[in-house]
Amino acid sequence: MLAAAGLALALGHAILQLPQAAVSLPTQVAGNMGQSGVEHPVTAVLLNFRGYDTLLEVAVLLLAFFGVMALSQTQSMCPAEPAHALLQALARLLAPLMVLVAGYLLWIGAYAPGGAFQAGAVLAAAGVMLRLAGLLPAWAQPGRLLRTGLVAGLLVFVVVALIALGQGVLLQYPSSAAGTLILLIETGLALSIGLTLSGLYLCSMETRA
């Protein structure tokens, strides 16, 4: 407790007397937006200027899922339990809408707040909702198709990175194609992030029950 309070005090004190930073990254980001292929600075940083970080982060997400998979005890698909008819009807109505919202978030990411992670989160929510309504089975050992879907985003990202390497430098998109390539990567990522995040839930259901 004392150590935590001391750290908080020291942090507060240090932050109050922060000097003027020597480097201004926001200016540099603004100056290079023209070559980034997108119009929203957050997407430009995540997918282009610091795309390498994002590439590794996608692997972190997959690793978290591997960890949950290692912990889940069940061997095969667990059939869905029937839920209330009203809940099922509502879920059937909402699921396509959520996919539509995910697609919108993915597209708008180039111009406004949005992108693969937000779209993936909405897809994952749809997956969890369908599971709760008893319309989707839980899976502890995903089949080949599901496994491919889980890693598709990372694979697309890696392939684009390596094609760029063939042209000269890892992850250096040609300026004219940057927008298209970023959309391609984000589409793959949205799908895989959606599957991974819902997998964290669907996969751990059995150990919890």
Binding site: A10, L11, H13, A14, I15, Q17, L18, P19, A21, A22, V23, S24, L25, Q28, V29, N32, N48, F49, R50, G51, Y52, D53, L56, E57, A59, V60, L62, L63, A64, F66, G67, M69, A70, L71, Q73, Q141, R144, R147, T148, L150, V151, L154, L155, V158, A161, L162, L165, G166, G168, V169, L170, L171, Q172, Y173
Partner: protein, 483 residues
């Protein structure tokens, strides 16, 4: 240099790709793919080291932006040496793991994908020249290591994995807090940009950042008194996992401590702080060796020996006075290499003995000396490296450190190193003595697949060969470093 076959980006991308493919192939698959790919990685690391011996240190702007807008990778002699160690340890261990999981399938389902990501994380960490990117690689490494501890299932490994997860997350959290403070103070996270900016008269935020990042990394390296999570995690995992974790994963955070202490935060480091961290190292040597001596389980003994050997690594800091900086640095890194190879060999040999006797118990090792002479020889040879006897790399490391201690007039570290060597001899002989006894009544020792014995032997042999022919490595270490 920018070409498709540049080893630098491939050292990160190749393990990421084969790990992903191994996952797509399905549970337990991908062993052969992994072995071929790691052999390729070893060639890439050798090629990179060769390029650097001729052309000097390298830097690589990912995405072509360049720091501070983009992320830079950088390879100097230290990074190249650590990557050589990583692939050189991983290749025999992959061969070993394939045989081991054929005999004991528990935990094999996700071993290959997670190991691929672990190796990608290690190479990415060694190459990174960006404080935030280093944080991402630390997360990747930490989650992979925790995942590997958890794959065996069962109550005890799970508890160990949970404790490890909390320790490693706390460590990354402290590190990230430090990165945020640095970014607040200077507006960049690129090591190259930050290096000229950090001065002895740094603002309070930077001092605080240095302390937080250091503490976080010490927790991840399991330096005494932050070692509490290590023995259950390393001692409870399947043998190939224990070997990977003890040989490589703790070295990664040690590598970052060296980088930050000797480079970025060098203007802030005081001799008193160096002595303090050396004292923690001394405590680790004594505490770890003592606990290794009192263990009844073989793998726990080897795990506590790791706690002790980590202590030697940190003698680098008090010994690196301005006159002895080069030999202390070379000795500390040589110790990391020697321990990496020898500890991987020791855990692999211990795993074979456990497979042969069917239990993890030192008092039931009787008969191993007759049935598995090569494995016992491997264990002894790895022990020679840990004790620091010639002609092993452990001897070269201790010799360099002793020279630094004598030249800088710090005789107390000399006594510590000699005493520590005697303690390691004591716990190694404790195992050897038992193994030479005849089989006890009711016990039985079954033979193990040849591949388990020979892959472990290759690791122990590498530690000795490195001691005999260490000169090119010492030369490589000084690439990109002001002597």
């Amino acid at each position: 240099m920018s070409s498709f076959f540049d080893p630098l980006p491939w050292l990160v991308m190749l393990p990421l790709v084969w790990g992903t493919i191994a996952f797509m192939l399905g549970a337990g698959r991908g062993a052969r793919l992994a072995i071929v790919a790691i052999a390729l990685q070893l060639l890439l690391a050798l090629k990179l080291a060769g390029q650097m011996l001729e052309g000097g240190a390298r830097s690589y702007a990912v995405g072509g932006w360049g720091a501070p807008l983009g992320i830079d990778l950088a390879a100097d002699g230290l990074a190249a040496a650590m990557m050589l160690l990583t692939q050189a340890v991983a290749l025999p261990l992959a061969v070993y793991a394939r045989g081991y999981f054929a005999a004991r399938p528990a935990g094999s389902a996700l071993f290959w994908p997670i190991t691929g990501y672990l190796l990608a994380a290690l190479n990415a960490l060694f190459l990174s020249a960006d404080l935030f990117n280093i944080y991402v690689t630390l997360e990747l490494l930490g989650l992979a290591a925790v995942g590997l501890v958890a794959i065996a299932g069962g109550k005890q490994p799970l508890a160990a994995a949970m404790r490890y997860l909390l320790a490693t997350l706390l460590g990354s959290g402290a590190y990230l807090l430090g990165v945020a403070l640095i970014y607040g103070a200077y507006g960049s996270v690129s090591l190259e940009v930050l290096h000229p900016l950090v001065a002895a008269e740094a603002p309070l935020a930077v001092m605080l950042a240095a302390v937080l990042m250091l503490l976080g990394l010490l927790l991840k390296t399991a330096l005494f008194p932050f070692h509490f999570w290590l023995p259950p995690a390393h001692g409870g995992a399947p043998a190939p996992v224990s070997a990977l974790l003890s040989a490589l994963v703790v070295k990664a955070s040690f590598y970052l401590v060296v980088r930050l202490w000797l480079e970025l935060f060098a203007p802030l480091a005081t001799p008193a702080a160096a002595q303090l961290i050396g004292l923690l190292g001394a405590a680790a040597i004594l505490w770890g060796s003592w606990h290794a001596l009192t263990q009844t389980r073989l793998k726990m003994l080897v795990a506590y020996s790791t706690v002790a050997q980590i202590g030697y690594l940190f003698l680098l800091f008090p010994l690196a006075t301005p006159e002895t900086a080069a030999s202390a640095f070379q000795g500390g890194v040589m110790q990391a290499m020697a321990h990496g190879l020898a500890k991987a060999a020791m855990f692999a040999a211990a795993g074979s003995m456990i497979v042969a006797t069917g239990r993890d118990d030192i008092s039931h090792l009787g008969g191993v000396g007759v049935q598995l002479p090569l494995t016992l020889f491997t264990f002894g040879m790895a022990g020679v490296t840990l004790m620091g006897l010639p002609p092993s790399a452990g001897f070269s490391a201790k010799w360099l450190l002793l020279m630094a201690a004598v030249e800088s007039g710090q005789w107390w570290w000399v006594m510590l190193m000699i005493g520590g060597g005697l303690l390691s001899a004591a716990y190694v002989f404790k195992v050897l003595r038992r193994a030479f006894l005849p089989v006890a009544e009711g016990d039985h020792v079954t033979p193990v697949p040849r591949v388990l014995e020979w892959s472990a032997f290759a690791l122990a042999l590498a530690a000795v060969v490195l001691g005999l022919y260490g000169e090119p490595l010492l030369q490589l270490l000084m690439v990109g470093r002001m002597a």
